[in-house]
């Protein structure tokens, strides 16, 4: 009898069944198995693989296994030590001292020291890293009295909880001896990263894949379990689902699959589809108002527009219920800062019409009050859907909306550089602390052209002051109270309306073990992850 693939498969299943009956099940499920290859889906090509230069989930998903941060998010969102073993701040908040781990080696064999931290902070985080430049604006110097100590000196108080939470994303350390004295943006290590992490970079095939293999000299003894990690670039989302279903990839995180497939795979017992392990990031669907436009300069009109859109209906019918109505710029998934407020503008068509009438925009010919242009900023597949939904909702209260279709580069320059919009809709990402990437949406004085900042021609001195005070408030409780006040103020003024609050979803094959154990797991190091044989 010829042995075919099917026979082999069948006998494999039989063997597996025999093993299952012979051994107690929990033992099989628990004992980590060494070896194996984990394949991870990525939806877009990354230009560079250096998290000290580029803060973006696409960069983290790859490089966080190769390059390590000072600290990371542990279970329950607690800050855990990685390259920094301990830290302390002086009471005035102007000096933060990190004690660094000793005996750590770069992948090229050189020792990791405080000089690397100093270099990364001063030359890359402060000068080039997006969001890092803002975070480290008042960082004057990093002192290195000995190879295991890095002292950060700030000219204005830096809240320790803000710094630590931000450093999970903006605190990756790169080797000084590789970058120093070179043109940072052109350094070859930007696409062939060298770090201290559990996996060593092997190969980057443009448009296809990145491979990293086990680092045998990793400082966590006995880790990692996996032999290799492969990241595959699959730009077509439906094709990515097919790759997951056929076992070509085992993980797709950060909503890398179409919403319809996320919904379908939730009921498929070969996969775990959940928000577990991706709760470190939350995003909102936004509606930004260009207040230079006469009608929109009146906050009653902005509030009326918010009242006219039935957000729960949109969530249920367009987003498969994957989210909830937002209460403001600080999401309920951020326990440290959420002010526990209610949804400010529930769907209320009558109230919307009343506000518009009060503002002096009565229905004219054909029931039209005025017309607006909306620019969708295509962060995800739901953005054009929401633009259409807003168009239809507003037509109910007498506002005609025209949708301007642009791709993302075009939309960003139209909205943030040319101010050529009335309404814009996209995503706001909340990154653990309002000071990281949320308050820039409201603070005035952001230069023209900076995307995802206040470019609405709106300004409030009170809000500016709240933002600045909170950013340098060292007392945790006071800081929280300032942000509660900030939420109240911007919810009333509404220069930008946060409609939905949505977690990201990750789809993971059940072959993968020890996965999504911490809040930013897909952007973590995966040192203790292992995989069951297919």
């Amino acid at each position: 009898m010829p042995i075919t693939r099917r026979h082999l498969l069948l006998s494999g299943i039989a063997l597996g069944a025999a093993a299952n009956t012979a051994l107690p099940l929990p033992a099989l499920a628990q004992a980590p198995r060494r070896g194996g290859v984990l394949t991870i889906h990525l939806g877009s090509e990354q230009r560079i693989l250096n998290p000290a230069l580029r803060a973006s989930t696409g960069v983290y998903v790859i490089t966080s296994k190769i390059i390590e941060p000072l600290v990371d998010l542990g279970e329950g969102g607690k800050i855990v030590p990685v390259l920094a073993e301990s830290w302390e701040a002086t009471p005035d908040g102007k000096t933060v001292t990190f004690k660094l781990r000793s005996g750590v080696q770069w992948h090229d064999g050189k020792p990791f020291t405080a000089a690397d931290v100093q270099y990364s902070a001063m030359e890359q985080w402060k000068k080039h890293l997006n969001y890092g430049t803002t975070l480290q604006l008042y960082l004057d110097a990093v002192e290195t009295p000995d190879p295991q100590t890095a002292i950060f000196r700030y000219s204005r108080p830096m809240p320790l909880n803000l710094l630590l939470r931000a450093l999970c994303d903006l605190g990756y350390v790169v080797p000084k001896h590789v970058f120093d004295g070179t043109n940072v943006l052109e350094n070859p290590a930007n696409t062939a990263p060298i770090g201290t992490g559990p996996f060593k970079f092997v190969e980057y095939q443009r448009g296809q894949y990145v491979i990293a293999e086990r680092n045998p000299n990793y400082w966590r003894q006995g880790f990692p379990y996996l032999d290799r990690i492969v990241w595959r670039f699959i730009t077509d989302r439906s094709a990515a689902t097919a790759a997951l279903e056929t076992g070509q990839v085992q993980i797709s995180a950060y909503n890398g699959l179409p919403l319809a497939d996320i919904d379908r795979l939730r009921k498929d017992n070969r996969f775990e589809v959940s928000t577990r392990g991706v709760e470190g990031n939350v995003f909102n669907n936004t509606l930004e108002f260009n207040t230079r436009r006469k009608e929109l300069s009146d906050k009653r009109v902005r509030q009326a527009i918010a009242h006219a859109v039935d957000v729960p209906f949109f969530l249920e019918n367009f987003l498969y219920g994957l989210g909830k109505p937002a209460t403001g710029p600080i999401p309920s998934l951020s326990p440290d800062f959420f002010p526990n407020n209610a949804v400010p503008y529930p769907y209320d068509k009558a109230r919307s019409e009343k506000l518009l009438d009060e503002a002096g925009y009565k229905r004219g010919a054909g029931g039209i009050r005025f017309s607006l242009k909306i620019v969708p900023i295509m962060n995800g597949e739901d953005v054009p859907l929401l633009a259409t939904f807003i168009q239809q909702s507003l037509s109910q209260v007498g506002i005609r909306v025209e949708i301007v279709q642009l791709d993302i580069a075009g939309a960003l320059s139209a909205v943030y550089r040319d101010w050529n919009f009335d309404l814009a809709t996209g995503w706001h990402q909340y990154r653990g602390d309002p000071a990281v990437s949320t308050t820039v949406w409201y603070r005035s004085g952001s230069p023209k052209g900076a995307p995802w900042t206040n470019q609405y021609g709106w300004q409030s001195d009170a809000v500016d002051k709240l933002i600045d005070d909170a950013a340098s408030e060292v007392d945790v409780a006071k800081r929280r109270a300032l942000y509660a006040e900030f939420v109240k103020a911007v919810n009333d003024e509404l220069p930008v309306w946060m409609l939905t609050e949505r977690p990201f979803y990750a789809a993971t094959s059940k072959r993968v073990q020890n996965h999504h154990t911490v809040p930013r797991w897909d952007s973590g190091d995966m040192h203790d992850t292992w995989i069951q044989p297919a």
């Binding site: 448009g207 056929t246 070509q248």
Partner: protein, 325 residues
């Protein structure tokens, strides 16, 4: 030698066209709102203005448009295609990495579509208005009318997800270390679905063209003569009709070679193949002007080359068409 001279003359004649295309495209891309730094910032999820300005000057975008164009053309004269913004390395390298995949996909699909389309067209023409003809023509219409991404997705769902016969995507098994024949077979295995998807639509066109021109040629006098001198039906079809009926098909192949470079964007995306089409698409989305112009340059050269070969083929098929004079 004569052919070489002819090729050179052709190339020289197409230089102005090439220049026009490149300059036109360059200016067209300036009209598109947003530049490569906007696209990069979109991917990063934000950045501060100082960093953005720094990046603009890094990519040479702070110079006036005409200066940028001048710089580009000057470099092109020395056959330097510039630096790719997305990939951070020379455009020539990026394109060379991708070219083999696209050429393989295109050549296989085109050959398959041409051969199968011709075959089916001949069968349909010989059984005109009987059931084989109706069947083939209907199938052709279905293939022609169905968008190729749908074929691709259905192929994946049926053959990869449901039946597990074929891989769902990719060019080869990653990190398998396959060498020699094993690697060739592995790549062929991965290309079955994409080639079939890409070929089906084109097959329908060849089929219809072939059927029509066969029917036309069969009514001509010399066919009657051939029959009258006692040739069998097969000999008449193969030696006399087919050869003459091939010309429109060959013309079409020359024309389609160009569209196939662009047409494979969809197939390359659906099957995650690292080809030129996807590269071009990404270059547009990321506003990577250098890469896009480089692709256009290489594609234009390819199309010129293919059309040259087609012209040579004409002469072979029909000696009345004389080359070169």
């Amino acid at each position: 030698m004569r052919i070489l001279l002819l090729a050179l003359r052709r190339l020289a004649a197409s230089l102005p066209t090439l220049l026009l295309i490149l300059v036109g495209l360059f200016l067209l891309l300036q009209l598109a709102p947003g530049d490569t730094v906007d696209a990069l910032v979109a991917q990063m999820g934000g950045g501060d203005p100082a960093m953005i300005e720094q990046l603009r000057s890094f990519y040479g975008l702070d110079a006036p448009v005409l200066v940028q164009l001048g710089r580009y053309l000057l470099r092109l004269v020395t056959l330097d295609l510039g630096f790719s913004a997305i990939y951070g390395k020379p455009v020539a390298d990026v394109i060379l990495e991708r070219l083999p995949v696209t050429l393989l996909l295109m050549a296989t699909a085109l050959s398959f579509a041409f051969a199968a389309g011709m075959g089916l067209g001949v069968v349909a023409a010989r059984r005109v208005n009987r059931w084989p003809d109706s069947l083939i023509s209907t199938l052709g219409l279905v293939f022609y009318a169905t968008p190729s991404f749908w074929f691709g997705m259905m192929g994946i769902v049926v053959f990869a997800v449901r039946l597990s016969w074929l891989p769902a995507g990719g060019f080869e098994e990653i990190g398998s270390g396959n060498e020699g024949l094993t690697r060739v077979l592995d790549i062929a295995w991965h290309l079955v679905l994409p080639v079939a998807t890409l070929a089906l639509t084109y097959l329908a066109t060849y089929l219809r063209i072939m059927r029509a021109s066969m029917l036309e040629v069969m009514t001509l006098d010399f066919v009657r003569t051939a029959r009258a001198k006692g040739l069998g039906e097969t000999a008449v079809v193969l030696r006399h009709v087919l050869r003459n009926a091939l010309l429109p098909g060959v013309t079409l192949m020359g024309l389609q070679a160009g569209t196939m470079l662009g047409g494979s964007v969809v197939v390359e995306s659906v099957f995650a193949l690292p080809g030129l089409g996807r590269l071009a698409y990404e270059s547009v989305v990321q506003r990577d002007v250098n890469t896009l112009l480089g692709i256009v340059f290489v594609s234009a050269l390819l199309v010129i080359a293919i059309n040259f070969i087609v012209d040579m083929l004409y002469a072979k098929l029909d000696p009345r068409i004389v080359t070169g004079s």
